[in-house]
Assembly symmetry: C2
Homo-oligomer: 510 residues x 2
């Protein structure tokens, strides 16, 4: 296996570059003084160029061919052949992507994000529209380069979620709507839980300490990680040995920092749990996306942030264990609140205009709206000029709300200006997968509920590591799901979870 | 100038890599969780390899030849030709350095630093001796590759201080000893100043705030910088637009954090003051050292840290301005201390075993000792086995002290284990240059003393920027000195400074 081992060395160099880019991005978002902005852009562009040069180099092509011969008798789904496959696919994609398209996309991304920020501040969609139109055009070109059989959107969504298609998403959304819309109706008719105490003054240092205590209890290893503050929370890794998370704090908004921390911890557990032997291989690199990441797909990654944030962190048994500790931390703020009241408050359902503030039921409706609109933009059935009206119509249809302005409507997310067409579905896919994985763990791990009730997360984390984390990007998401749960993507466990949880919380008639 | 401009683009890519390596090192020393250590090493090695590949590439060779023709009629000391010269020299050095030597040095550096740490902890020189012997051997080889005319040490010291030689250093040291040894005798016979109040409890947050306030008054721009904590203080830059410093704090050791901050601020002012058009060129890159840095040499850089720390920060007029503010910050700690007493305390001379704790007079004696020993190791007149005895003999000769063990003697510094033979002299050269620059500024800037007395550092910083900072590495250190002060390296201003300052402070007979 001389060529394979040489190729692994070559790939390790590419991985080092991608991990370094992550460090530069982490620093830019948490530490860098504002003046460093322009030169940081140069540094990132140079590194990205170096990684890309290595991916299209003839040396790689030759090595790949030799290594494929060497490994031909190994199992198709083993680490070696999957490693080579990922490298070949990325190399071929970069070789057939016109340099002009790459350059235009990078340029437009910077320009459009800047313009979007200004347009949102001024509540002026018309200002952003011409750039969005150019972006839609480039995304269509990109879809053609990537290739698809049914719908151009399939090519784009596949960047983030391999094998996902527009048709599959429509089916999934149909099932979700059939459950969520009537459930939402019933919730709206019920008595809303108390929640005014969540807006009391919670000192930031104690918010941080409590969040970090839970994160460590979940298994987040601070010898290989750290928690910082940033404007938008995120998780980022520079191999499994250095996996960092951020959150944000407001004194009158405890749940934002707390569930933000648990969400990012879920992502971090995934990255810290990747098998060491996958470090610096193509199986911890999103090569087409030029991003060092150990998770199988955006949706799979999101399934872990949602699992730890929602299925664990917003559950009744979680708060039965942790609420006394929370009250110890915030005595005066919570003296008149019991665990059940607190649990109901952090699960309150309340349709709102803003996706990132949405609860578990309405969140998916925000996603469906965006996916339906972006797919229509890509296939040409919706024009950019008609987008604001289409947005508002769907908001009315799904959430019975009408945005008072475009800033709180069609301009709220950065994704389209950044060229991330096709990434929105992965948030909902993550929710669906989370319930599948959790149901499988419950079925397979003896006494899982009892350990969770005792605040012992090792059994759950152990199952997730064994069936998901350690594999990195070795399996495609559907393959990983099938192996771990015995099923492909299946909305049923998620729908049952929502039904049980919210009929209980809101004491709805069964 | 087509080739020149293409070459500048090429060089910008190398600079981006070197700046990125600085970011990785900064992160490793201030932020990184311990687990990230091994993969961080891989990332740095990969980036260093990429920069080196670019420096020896045939593409660069061709570009250099064309660009040299294009610029042949431009001034020899202009930015363009100096930029090309730096690139050519580095490229040729890397081309003639055997790969084996580079590899052996990198490997031995890691091994020897690790061993040195253990040997120092166990106070066991014999444990370190075999690795030091191998290091001396590799340093001799390196000296041969670099080349020299008189003494092999010239080649090594030239890495850090171009054009400096063993002979020039011997002359310089002779002058310094002739002044410092008798001055030290007289000081030892005088009454030592009070200083017990420096060991009182100074809360760390206030130490930090005061140091940063002075740093900003000096002109350190926090839009392009930040102050962090690290085990060993340092300054590091990722272009002039992001220049970071660190310090360290102990509650009972105010002067360590304060003068540490001012020292690193001096380095930072140099980097922040480099002309923007030199960013990402060879004139802000130490290419042979694979390090992004804007200063002309180690000695020149050190001249600025010493100038701001000692000539400004330990002066009487500095404390006349700042002492009331310090007392405001530390009311209870300093209520029984006046400005003059404080000023005398922070300038107290007291021979000690440890270089990094030394005062302004004895510091240079520590350096001379090291330089004399390392030059003798390199030319073979001293063997590694005789080194501890030679160290102790010189300590007795210069400072009348005998180390109680090798940990506080020959094993105290990391430099030899890290392979930095030839870097020690730059600390003393920095002291000497600092006085030359300061004397020239005083002669050329009207009312400089008055502005310093008023806490206005813009006139001094303006002169330093004009004559030193903005030029980056365009001029060789001696050339820079000559242009700014009218002289080459000259110990006279420094000797006068020491004489005047310490006869005054200790009220010695003239």
């Amino acid at each position: 296996m001389k060529a394979y081992s040489e190729l692994n060395q070559y790939m390790a160099g590419i991985s080092d570059i991608l991990n370094t880019m992550n460090i530069l991005n982490w620093d830019a978002r948490t530490q860098m003084p504002t003046g460093g902005n322009v030169t940081r852009g140069f540094q990132l562009a140079t590194l990205s160029g170096l990684a890309q040069e290595k991916l299209v180099a003839d040396q790689l092509k030759t090595l790949l061919e030799k290594a494929e011969v060497e490994t031909a008798s190994l199992p198709e789904d083993g680490i070696e052949r999957r490693n080579l496959k990922a490298l070949r696919e990325a190399s071929e994609l970069f070789r057939r992507t016109p340099e002009r398209l790459t350059r235009d996309l990078a340029g437009l991304r910077a320009e459009a994000q800047h313009c979007w920020g200004q347009a949102r501040a001024k509540n002026d969609f018309a200002m952003f529209a011409p750039l969005l139109e150019r972006m839609v055009g480039l995304q269509r070109e990109l879809a053609e380069v990537i290739g698809y059989t049914e719908h151009p959107y399939d090519a784009l969504v596949g960047i983030y979620e391999p094998d996902m298609t527009h048709t599959k998403l429509q089916n999934l959304f149909r099932q979700l709507k059939a459950k969520c819309l009537p459930l939402l109706e019933r919730i709206r008719a019920a008595e809303p839980p108390r929640e005014e105490f969540l807006g009391r003054e919670f000192p930031l240092g104690q918010q941080r300490a409590f969040g970090l205590e839970v994160a460590q209890a979940f298994g987040y290893d601070l010898e290989r990680g750290r928690l910082d503050t940033s404007l938008h929370p995120f998780e980022i890794s520079f191999t499994r040995d250095d996996v960092r998370i951020t959150t944000r704090y407001q004194p009158n908004f405890l749940t934002m920092s707390l569930f933000g921390t648990l969400h990012e911890t879920g992502h971090a557990l995934y990255e810290q749990g990747v098998a060491p032997e996958l470090s610096r291989t193509a199986l911890t690199s999103d090569l087409p996306g030029m991003y060092a990441v150990g998770g199988a797909s955006f949706g799979t990654h999101e399934s872990q942030s949602r699992l730890w944030e929602n299925l664990v962190g917003r559950s009744k048994i979680f708060w039965r264990h942790w609420y006394p500790r929370l009250v110890e931390t915030f005595k005066t703020q919570l003296e008149d609140v019991d665990a059940e009241t607190f649990h109901r408050a952090v699960n309150r359902v309340s349709p709102s205009l803003i996706r990132v503030e949405a609860d578990e039921i309405t969140y998916n409706l925000h996603i469906m709206l965006r996916v339906e609109l972006e797919a229509a933009l890509i296939d040409g059935s919706l024009s950019v000029s008609d987008l604001p009206a289409a947005w508002n119509a769907k908001m009315q249809q799904y959430l019975s709300l009408t945005p008072p302005d475009d800033a709180r409507g069609v301009l709220q997310d950065i994704h389209w200006s950044a060229g991330y067409f096709g990434s929105f579905p992965t948030y909902t896919i993550g929710n669906v997968m989370a319930s599948q994985f959790f149901a499988a763990a419950r079925a397979q791990v003896p006494n899982l509920e009892a350990s969770l009730e005792a605040g012992d997360y090792a059994p759950l984390r152990g199952w997730l590591t064994e069936h998901i984390y350690r594999h990195g990007r070795r399996f495609r998401p559907q393959e990983l799901l099938q192996r771990a749960t015995g099923h492909g993507l299946d909305a049923q466990p998620y729908l049952e979870y929502l039904e049980t949880k919210f009929t209980g919380l809101y004491q709805l008639e069964g």
